[in-house]
């Protein structure tokens, strides 16, 4: 049974981050995903200190607030003339450091394992189940991720054309009256949510891999946005299965193996994609010359 729950958790993480990752990659905001995933740390710790539990709604809200705060700060610094990459670097390392500081200060009250936050413990998701009046409803992480996925799918499919247009041509979007900033923060809010829901299973660092690598892989495989989103989810799910299989065989970190598998799939797409692949391009050139 634990296999099932671990794989389901992985599939849910892959789906949430695959959908959002496609938009992050296209908006050239891959590193914003990284920033958010680290910035939610102080929110998680503060919420934990306040509520004493690691699965509260408060934790979700606090982490999201921190993620959005980070996005807001990054933009503020950029507008005031700090280079884009520098402002991302400053904001997320500083916020993350605050989180680390809080954990070490309140280590006794906070039963938060820093390693677990950083690297996740997907192998243990099935230990922490949700029991309502004696009935075991399965791992809490699955419920949390499932809820997050439903929200993401609903929001993105309701406002697909808006998200598409603010990504491709924000100027036209604004001219047509689409509230560009609102949708921007909506997307960033969902990224924060996906990050928090995933952090327990894959950790703050590896979730970035799930946000970016499958989406970057999908980008190499198609010329349509809708297809890119589906492929991004597909690559994430494939990585989950391949990675989990490998982890079982070589007895290594599951989350580590999943992201490694995603990395390998990316390299394969980079080399062998029929449209954008390195090999295909070389072959086309050779054909032209011959």
């Amino acid at each position: 049974m634990s296999d099932f729950w671990i794989l389901l958790t992985g599939v849910l993480v892959a789906s949430c981050s695959g959908i959002l990752g496609a938009f992050l990659v296209l908006r050239k905001m891959a590193m914003i995903g990284d920033a958010i995933s680290h910035s939610v740390m102080p929110g998680i710790v503060i919420a934990f200190l306040l509520s004493g539990s690691r699965d509260s709604l408060l934790m979700m809200v606090a982490a999201m607030a921190c993620g959005l705060f980070a996005v807001f700060l990054i933009q503020l610094f950029q507008q005031k003339g700090v280079q884009a990459d520098a402002s991302i670097g400053v904001v997320f390392t500083a916020l993350f450091a605050i989180g680390v500081l809080l954990v070490s200060l309140f280590a006794r009250q906070v039963h938060l394992d820093q390693d677990a936050i950083l690297y996740g413990e997907i192998a243990y998701v099935h230990w922490n189940t949700w029991i309502v009046s004696g009935v075991d409803l399965g791992p809490k992480a699955v419920w949390l991720l499932g809820g997050t996925l439903i929200i993401i799918v609903t929001v993105i499919s309701l406002f697909y054309k808006q998200f598409k247009l603010i990504t491709f041509d924000p100027a036209l979007a604004a001219a047509l009256g689409i509230p560009v900033a609102l949708f921007h923060y909506l997307l960033m809010g969902m990224v924060s949510m996906a990050t928090v829901s995933s952090f327990e299973s894959v950790g703050a660092i590896l979730v970035v891999g799930m946000l970016i690598i499958p989406a970057a892989t999908a980008y190499l495989l198609t010329d349509r946005l809708g297809m890119m989103i589906l492929l991004s989810v597909g690559v994430g799910i494939a990585s989950t299965f391949v990675g989990y299989g490998a982890a079982v065989i070589i007895d290594a970190s599951i989350a580590g193996c999943i992201v490694c598998a995603a990395g390998i799939l990316f390299v394969l797409a980079f080399l062998f994609s029929p449209s954008h692949g390195f090999v295909a391009k070389k072959l086309r050139l050779r054909k032209l010359v011959a």
Binding site: L26, K28, L158, F159, Y160, K161, Q162, K164, L165, T167, F168, D169, A171, L172, A174, A175, L176, G177, I178, Y219, T222, D223, R224, L225, M227, M228
Partner: protein, 270 residues
């Protein structure tokens, strides 16, 4: 002509006489401290092709963005058919500078043109068969029907420009802002675009175009706005497009603009 027809024509005429397509009053805009536009005022007459001329950095794009509410105004007022732009969005079409978007975005030409319909679809509406048909029609108008399913990064610069133009046509607007639609296109495409603009004009639409090629200004535009932070001149082309005003607009950076000179290279050679 039936009675209702003539009635509606009168109605349109009345609207024309009351509210011009675009009235800009004392528009001042800035990105940082220094104003990029200062006290810009002009009123555009319905059914005209208006050229916006000025050196790089003169604020031509900024003027369009400020008019469309894309950047905040420090002061001044912009009225589209007598009302603030926010209430008239559906009447306005916009062709941004081609470099303003990422052409590697995973989408095809038809899809980009369909984006022109988004403003008519409402909050939750999805583009469907009707939007597709309109978009195909607009692509055909710019001579790009054969490229409908082509990934946009695989279009040439001139073709991308035509796709942008088709998207603006799909907006089905009455007033168009076009930022350098002739930039980097060959003579044939330029001809096709100007023919299209003239067709729009014939339909009573108003088109405001940022343009850099001074040699074609007199041929293309009914009115000209000379812009360099401030309005250096605005009016009918024959009145405003003069040596004197151009020198002032380009601040002497225009070494010589002898339009007769453009046609005289043979004399100097011989």
């Amino acid at each position: 002509m039936s009675r209702t027809d003539s009635k509606s024509t009168t109605f349109v005429m009345e609207r024309e006489s009351i509210a011009p397509p675009l009235a800009v009053n004392g528009l001042t805009a800035a990105y940082q401290k220094k104003p990029v536009l200062r006290g810009v005022s002009f009123t555009v007459t319905e059914g005209e092709l208006v050229g916006v001329i000025g050196p790089n950095g003169a604020g031509k794009s900024t003027m369009m963005k400020a008019a469309l509410g894309l950047i905040p105004r420090l002061s001044g007022e912009v009225l589209v058919y007598g009302k603030p732009y926010k209430q008239q969005r559906k009447l306005v079409g916009y062709v941004p500078q081609r470099e303003s978007v990422d052409w590697d975005f995973p989408t095809n030409a038809l899809d980009v043109v369909m984006m022109g319909r988004y403003g008519h679809l409402g909050l939750f509406g999805r583009p469907g068969a009707k939007e597709r048909a309109i978009a195909l029609e607009c692509l055909a108008k710019v001579g790009m029907a054969d490229f409908a399913s082509r990934q946009i990064s695989q279009l040439s610069g001139g073709q991308q420009q035509r796709v942008f133009l088709a998207r603006a046509l799909a907006q089905d607007a009455s007033l168009y802002f076009m930022d350098e639609p002739f930039a980097g296109v060959d003579a044939a495409t330029e001809k096709a675009i100007i023919t299209l603009l003239q067709e729009l004009k014939q339909e009573g639409k108003t088109v405001i175009v940022v343009h850099h090629d001074l040699a074609t200004v007199e041929e293309y535009f009914d009115s000209v706005l000379l812009l360099n932070v401030e309005v250096m001149g605005y009016g009918k082309t024959k009145d405003v497009f003069t040596q004197d005003l151009l020198q002032r607009t380009y601040g002497g950076r225009l070494a010589f603009l002898d339009r007769s000179g453009l046609a005289q290279p043979d004399i100097t050679k011989g």
